[in-house]
Amino acid sequence: MASNRKYWSSVEELKPNSSIADTLKQNEFVEEIPTAEFLGNEEALGASSTSRRDFLKYVGFTTAAASLAACEGPVTKSIPYVVQPENIIPGVANYYATTIANGFDFSSILIKTREGRPIMVEHNKEAKINGSPNARVYASVLDLYDSLRVQGPKANGEYTSWDELDTQVVAALNSAKASGKQIALLTQTYASPSTKKLIAEFSQKFANVKHIQYDAISEDAALDAFESTYGQRALADYDFSKAEVIVSFAADFLGDWQGGGYDAGYAKGRIPTQGKMSRHIQFESNMSLTGANADKRVPLTPSELKIALAKFYGYLNGRSVTGSLPAHIDEAVKAAATQVARAGRNAVVVTGISDVNAQKVVLAINKTISSVVMDAEKPKLTRQGNVKALNQLVADMNAGQVGVLVTSNVNPLYTMANAAEFEAGLAKVDLSVAFSLKEDETASKTTYVAAAPHYLESWGDVEMKKGMYSLMQPTIRPLFNTRQFQDAILKWTGSSLNYHDYIKQTWETSILGLDSWNQALHDGVYESSLSVGETEQADAVAVETPQVEAEAAVVSVADAVRALAGTTPAEGMELTFYSKISMGDGQQANNPWLQELPDPLTRNTWDNYLTISMADAERLDFENYIEDNGGLNGSYAKVTVGDVTLDKVPVLIQPGQAKNTVGLSFGYGKKLGLKTPMQTGVNAYALYQGFDLTQQVKIEKVSGIHEFASVQMKSTMDGRGDILRETSLEIFNTKDSEHWNPQPVVSVNHAEVPADDATLWSTFDSSIGHHFNLSIDLNACTGCGACVIACHAENNVPVVGKSEVRKYRDMHWLRIDRYYSSEETFEGDMDMVEAAPNSISTYHKLEHPSENPQVAFQPVMCQHCNHAPCETVCPVAATSHGRQGQNQMVYNRCVGTRYCANNCPYKVRRFNWFRYNENDEFDFHMNDDLGRMVLNPDVVVRSRGVMEKCSMCIQMTQKTILDAKRDGRPIKDGEFKTACSAACSSGAMVFGDVNDKESEVVKQKASNRMYHLLGFKGTRPNVFYHTKIRNTEEV
């Protein structure tokens, strides 16, 4: 075995005598049918008005009725186009390159459309930056079909016409101009050259115009720091693939830190090649996705974090910095500084502290070591929010100086801590218009709601990074009577152009040079050496200043370090906000896919909660326990920041959470524009005072028990340990793979043979034709969850809702298991104490395992065993084996015995307990006509009572084969894909044909890191994993 570590997936398992954990391990089905309970209740049975005979009558009647009804086939109508668009062939998908830029997520993507309907988001391979969509971007296609979108312009809750709105707004604009009142445009970050130009023109016409950009989750500190260092309001870009050492001070760069999109580069450096991989050290309070992937993670409080950064600067530059840290943290900081110093320009330091000084110090460090990872020359422009300007606006509004307020895709009444102040100010504005997809908190308070189109119905352009442009084009005609913000501005300015023409004009005059507009639109991205007027000027300024400001900068950095070091340790608890990979800033809260996407770390769905360390939970008497049915329950807390209180926040014990800290995620607790099941959680923005991600907080226990919908206790694989393999880089480099990745053997005739050689079954011959394998590299997998959503979209996986998830009836075909591991086993700990009761080092090691566990992610889908246990037990042969390696599931044959799920050692089969489509009990996207438009027509929607599971995207492989047959050509490597492998931006998943000896997947399979999940069972899966290697001194 690789190590004698204990792996655990839930805090419950750590409790010494938890009967539940034991029971769950024993249970093959978590969801026991409560027959004993029901039949034991004599009273209820006797009182029931339905006798056994009645029951039989009903059964007889319904059976007869059903069979009678089945005799007559329905009449189906087929309605062809009157005039078929030239480029649409029914049944053939079209792809369009476009860009999502909703103010939080910026990504260049491809949209797959069928019969004119966008149904799937895919990678845009042409994109050099932000070409790897995250889970939210994959799910954004479903937002288009949101049945609660505003369907036209509204005034006072009534639908009105655009003409009416235009007349009123233009009149108000003119009167504001005449009276000298302010006209304010409060928008998301557009990073759009055309919009910028357009707003400049608008300002010229109406004189007193202010454009305020607003990010719900602010990067103001980082922007200010970058501006003061480099003279431009932007964010440095990082290429983590070049990094040898990464030190992160609470920067969740695999999550949404500074706009995210860094996982692909990071993963590249994590795959050991020629014995080398990057070393990643993370200092943080909450357990973040990034921390979970780190080689060394140091939990500490937010105030310690600032001191640690100051000290780090000191150690690196050989200066002494005041401020005190606990010894072990100080040691870790020193070690990190040493590593960075050794790596020199191949190191990088990043931080997510929302403090200008911290950001300045980090920029200074990277500049000093002249890090090759950081790119400040061509910075990122995807965050532009300006807190100062926003505060000024609120003040102006309250002073009655604002005549017209136009908001676009922002929801300050939900996302601002001082929403009440904004609301008071809004009442004093003469006329306000909210461009919004939803009638949300802000839009319901403005004079007009201007129905905005979804990005898949809009035109746009984005400059995500200096000189790197992307185009947004509509992929469907507007579903509703909507108009985009820019078109309205054009109209109000009196221009006859529409926004498409305007963008084209802007691009042709100042971006494209001699290059073709059509080509740029086709590619979706364009890299330019030219730049739009103003940024060039800013550049010129930036180039001139360095020498002049160089010394001032040194002084200011020293000040910044001193300020950081002088941070006073907090009294009581400190709260750190974070954004979940599923919910982001909350604008996609009405998206059931995202609501049901389990958080990679807590494995919880449909909720946000206060994460707390085990020690603090014990101290404050919070508890988490698992109910008989396997559902997780937790206490509530009253959370107070300043004078704002959230009354009932569920508490979740999070291993790895720093002591004296708690975490709370944004994006929940929204009430308007959401279907009822989606209105979950509490609004963390209410506590987000001063746009500071860390707050002093008071926490009290309040009564009540919260029911979580967690999938963490499900499918514990019966306590078999050899699921996740990992080792250290040192062992990997020095020892034989036999030692750290032994292949399973069994005893046959008193001799040990490889487990695959001993079998009861006759072997399938899969040497001819295609034989598909999927390779999953645990080193590259960051647990981001993009594959899960891509799988949902591709395979019409239903959403089951919170109460069903709680019963472990979630339908995810692909889950990402998360395992925690401590340094040693518990038994080992106890032995150690007995052996050396007075040694300090023993007690250090004895720290509770959940205090700072190491984390590993493992995507698990159907393993497509060549000797599949499920196939042998199906009484109706509904699951069978294909020559291409797929374990095939035939829904129309399945009678729902669930025997296969019972016999599956990987627990990847999912049972349809209900009909999840067209059923009011499951009021998600499959319950309305609009939401069903997202369904993939190539994959059947399963009915109640059948088993389903990963098909290895056979519809995609079959399509590839058919295309090749039609063209009469062999298939090239890389053509075969599954939804998950195509969605994996980190390259952790490689799919291909192992009978093609030149293919990438064959190379992956030959690696000495390769192992099969539970290989000793002899199931011979067609999915294989790569042992995780950690760059640590010791494992």
């Binding site: 009449v75 009157v82 005039v83 049944g91 001819i768 190539d938 062999p970």
Partner: protein, 457 residues
């Protein structure tokens, strides 16, 4: 009979999709002639000859041949012109009277040149019909042009009226004979009834006479009724019950296996579209209209603009298309339905913009859990449409030919060899599989075409 007659001299027009050339298909015409109508054909031929000769005498230039002109007209002009109806271009009957011969020649050879030269007439016509540019025909000789003009000068024939009358007569004749049959049947029943009553009365009278005469009427001896004998024989009862059970099981099984199988389904469609006329009589390739069968999973129901490719210039069917069952008026009415749906105004030859999609009743409807791909079968395997859809070119009303059951699919996959020649995709797999099974030709099943998830996902 009269339909055959019409087939004798009405032209069939075939649109060839590549270039929209119009050809005269005499071969088609010949096929339709039946021996028993030969005499009529001869008679009509004589009539035609007479009319030709009369026109011969009427012409100034004796060499102009209207028959040749007709062929030329149908080849070159009929795509845009009709003798009596405005189409893309004007109606042409009597065009020789309206313009000078030289002017007409110049116009046909290159109308645009004539317009540019500033000719008054030419410019007037251009103004009326622009932007439709008439194709120049420099390849036509003077003789050809004269022939065409001669053809346009022919007096309109009026077979339609007599034909309709004939059809009507035939129709009413058919229906009246139906009524006659009923009457005869009724009369017969009445006669039989009277006979039965009479027999009964005779019997009664005879019995009365016998009674009156004191003759004793024998009553038959009471025997055991048959049913009682049957009931008492247990063996027979058991055997019968078993047979009944087996029989009913057989029929129940047969009935249940038919559930959901719609073989022969022939619904009434919103527009009476005859595949026989289009694919059969006119020989239009299936994939001209169902073009996506080549590249897509669905064969696609053609959009209405595809119909208009031809029907823009075919607003009515020819006389010979009408059958006893469906008259010309009926077919023309169906074309009018198409125009209504697509929003085509025949009088102005333009689209009104008011369209409404046609809601066809779907005939071939596989369940959602089956994935079938047309292009796999049509483009890759090269299977003719008729293999699954039957002789569509002979169906006046389309019906479902195949049962579309899984057994039917599998049967074909087991029997059919995969067409691999010349397809590089198959080169390697063919070599390997041929070696494995020791055969030269591989069936779809041997290629893995019987695996569940090849069709169910």
């Amino acid at each position: 009979m009269c339909t055959d007659l019409k087939n004798g001299y009405i032209q069939y027009i075939v649109y060839i999709r590549a270039n929209f050339m119009i050809e005269n298909t005499y071969s088609n015409m010949k096929k339709m002639i039946r021996p028993n109508s030969m005499t009529r054909i001869l008679g009509i031929g004589l009539a035609l000859l007479l009319s030709f000769s009369s026109s011969l005498f009427a012409q100034d230039q004796p060499e102009a041949d209207p028959a040749a002109g007709k062929t030329l007209f149908n080849t070159y002009c009929a795509a845009c012109h009709h003798l009596d109806r405005r189409m893309t271009g004007p109606a042409l009957r009597g065009v020789g009277d309206k313009f000078e011969r030289e002017w007409l020649h110049a116009w046909i050879k290159n109308s645009q040149a004539l317009i540019k030269s500033g000719d008054e007439e030419a410019v007037r016509i251009w103004e009326e019909y622009k932007p439709a540019v008439m194709t120049p025909f420099p390849q036509l000789s003077e003789q050809d042009l004269d022939d065409i003009i001669a053809y346009t000068m022919e007096v309109e024939e009026e077979p339609a009226a007599t034909d309709v009358a004939a059809t009507g007569a035939a129709g009413s004749g058919g229906s009246s004979s139906g009524i006659n049959g009923d009457i005869v049947l009724g009369a017969l029943i009445l006669v039989f009834g009277v006979l039965v009553v009479m027999l009964f009365l005779v019997n009664k009278t005879l019995r009365k006479i016998a009674e009156a005469n004191g003759v004793e009427v024998k009553t038959p001896e009471k025997t055991k009724p048959l049913w009682r004998a049957f009931v008492q024989n247990q063996f027979l009862v058991i055997v019968t019950v078993i047979l009944l059970l087996l029989g009913s099981a057989y029929y129940a099984f047969g009935y249940m296996m038919q559930i959901g199988v719609d073989q022969g389904y022939e619904p009434v469609q919103p527009i009476h579209f005859s595949h026989k006329i289009h694919a059969g009589d006119n020989g239009i390739d299936c994939k001209y209209c169902h073009s996506s069968a080549r590249t897509s999973q669905t064969s696609g129901i053609p959009s209405l603009n595809v119909c208009m490719n031809c029907h823009q210039s075919i607003p009515e069917v020819s006389e010979s298309t009408a059958t006893a069952e469906y008259s010309k008026e009926f077919y023309d009415g169906e074309i009018a339905k198409l125009y209504k749906a697509v929003g085509w105004d025949v009088s102005t030859q333009s689209y009104t913009g008011e369209s409404q999609p046609v809601k066809w009743v779907r005939i071939h409807d596989l369940p959602d859990f089956v994935y079938f791909n047309h292009s796999q079968h049509v483009s890759v395997a090269g299977i003719a449409c008729q293999v699954c859809h039957g002789e569509v070119q002979e169906m006046e009303i389309l019906h479902q030919h195949a049962p579309l059951t899984m057994g039917w699919c599998i049967q074909c996959h087991q029997d059919t060899n995969v067409k691999m020649e010349g397809n590089e995709y198959y080169t390697k797999i063919h070599e390997e599989l041929a070696k494995k099974y020791g055969v030269d030709q591989l069936t779809a099943a041997q290629m893995g075409g019987m695996e569940c998830a090849k069709c169910h996902y």
